[in-house]
Subunit: 436 residues, 2 copies
Amino acid sequence: MSYSIRGTILQTPDPGRLEVLRDHVVTVDDAGVITDVGPDIGERATDLVMLSGTVLLPGLIDTHIHAPQWPQLGTGLDLSLQRWLLEYTFPLEARYSDLAFAENVWESMVPALLSRATTTAVYHSSVHEPATLALAETCARYGQRAFVGRVAMDERDVAPEWYRDGDAADAVAASHRSIEAIRAVPGGLVEPIVTPRFIPACTDAALEGLGELARATGVRVQTHCSESDWEHRYVLNRCGRTDTEALSSFGLVTDHTVLAHATHLTGDDRHIIGAAGAGVSHCPLSNAYFANAVFPAKASLECGLRVGLGTDIAGGSEASMLAQCHYAVTASRLLEEGVDAGRTTRRGVADSRLDVPAAFWMATGGGADLLGIPAGLLAPGRVFDAFAVDIGPTSTIGVHGEWDDWDRIFEKIVRRASPSDITTVWVNGRVVSPAG
Amino acid sequence: MSYSIRGTILQTPDPGRLEVLRDHVVTVDDAGVITDVGPDIGERATDLVMLSGTVLLPGLIDTHIHAPQWPQLGTGLDLSLQRWLLEYTFPLEARYSDLAFAENVWESMVPALLSRATTTAVYHSSVHEPATLALAETCARYGQRAFVGRVAMDERDVAPEWYRDGDAADAVAASHRSIEAIRAVPGGLVEPIVTPRFIPACTDAALEGLGELARATGVRVQTHCSESDWEHRYVLNRCGRTDTEALSSFGLVTDHTVLAHATHLTGDDRHIIGAAGAGVSHCPLSNAYFANAVFPAKASLECGLRVGLGTDIAGGSEASMLAQCHYAVTASRLLEEGVDAGRTTRRGVADSRLDVPAAFWMATGGGADLLGIPAGLLAPGRVFDAFAVDIGPTSTIGVHGEWDDWDRIFEKIVRRASPSDITTVWVNGRVVSPAG
């Protein structure tokens, strides 16, 4: 049965603009698709009237998250990427051979993300098929839209023997089985995604096989690309070309491919990514720890690249996508200004600053565009993935009615809202948080 | 009557080290001073036993906060400092001529800061004496340790005619009256502080008079110093010397003077500050927006400079001092790594990274050292300013018992604790949050 909700909507139809729809009515059909958004002119039947101190925003899309790293969120970030992987991350991910351990983590993580209004998540899982299937099932059960990828990694020089695929054939076969298993999960919210961890952790044979698997199954691809100086140079040395060029040659840069980080792209790389219809998951907080530079988000958006935002749990220590918007703005300012006061000329990169609407757009419409899903905006034909935020006197946002216009309220929500201010979250028209 | 509390303490006796005191008993005397901290060997009477999923940490010291900017927290950060001051900040601060407006803000702000474990705050108030006195009285009533400074600003080229002191004599006389009024506030927790806003907003005559006022009254001084390229160059042009040199010549760099930001210091400036026993309030988030560079916190600590942390509300959008620790670590990584991937050499400043204990030290012991107050560590002779954090299964911190050692738990608390995880806050031995 269709229903309608009346309230004030704050959203970003494009990276440059906040749209305020005061007292509008959103009508949602049986399938969870929005059929109408219009001003409340008294002719629409309204099933739910939002409280006056509450606003409605499109759901947040986390385009890069390592699900098995949830228990280590917030730790180990003083280490180098190599030590972080070998001492923290790989030993933890290896534990997901234990299905009960995995299920316990997913049961805590998925509701925690939904309560932060992450209505869509693009997950790297571990190498384990049962744990990966359990993640997809948990998302389906809690009602989170998700792309779930079994991680493939078979390169013996980088992946330790206690946590890797046996060989390239194993990597491809297990990935194939995982795709089939996830496709059988009911509910229509969860899709598989081909997931070579990154070139350094995969043999050429595995990368070729996974590219062929993506083509044959029509499944999207995600991987890391030119995240750090180390990764970028490793691929140049091994493949004799850039990360993007090499991934492309393996058939792994296709329509809606999610390339995480992409901090060290060349101009040619950007052209390859744009021409393929692929894009970047920008993970601003993680990048401060592991990327050796700030991704030039503004310039990338201006040249038409698809860019979404990601938490990169646990490379970033923060699960909230609203916080990632704040980090994206803050990192863009540091890119523009530079960091070294001892340098008097060319300290930063001019014209790099993002504003809050641009960051929110990356977390909503940008992510939807990157993935090719009809989400990210409350408009007819899009799915009703949304969240309500309490901006009343008991919220932590601190709205001062006489002082704040809608631009300021929006800025306060993005920069200051805590999970306790998010009162309701919907995915595909259904309330998913608080859990019913 | 003295009392004792048993629990596990996490704290940083110096910038390089986390100290874990498992199941220790803290004894506090009538005056709120710690008389003993020792292992629970069964000989100590214990009045309060902390819950097993709770840890105890020293209270947080916010060394730079503009109290009247509380209503604008989280907004306007896309603007330049000049536009931000003239369009957002000064019009808001001017409203504190209305005492009822001021009292309403203080009533919301002080408990909000206490609930985030800010046990000591160093406030810039507005130019208004009644609003400033009301701030001191509100701190005393809620039990927050505070330094409260009436802002002096009389320079007509920078301060607008609708928000400034009449002239230099007015600025000094009003500051003097404000000191006397705050000294008369009972309770012993609140002290006045001489507060020229910054050199650009003050005439030489006012700065001279305020330096003399600080000397005559024995009151500490706070001001901004070399925050941005603009401020640094403005002072060089007007005074023919650096901000630090000029402030020093006015008698405004004295023992325990708080110089906010200090991003663009010279080596000589650091020597002047160190020799005077003054120090820096490092405001890492605000600096990303208004400082044009990252303060070199690690190098400053290593050369013995006193350094505390500040929120710089509302130049930073975040009221939590734990979050500022996280920003200090993150900013230090960007300083070390640099930001511009297009630069292949000398991208950042080597050896600049802070770890989490160093940042927490700045927020506790470093702030106490900067101010010259016996706080910042749970040890005999120090005041019992402290907070308890819930690390149990219902907290947002996400501790995984089998996985996390105390180093990881500490890192998770600093990076991930939300106000709802802070269960109790004490100042001077008295519970101040939740309000009794």
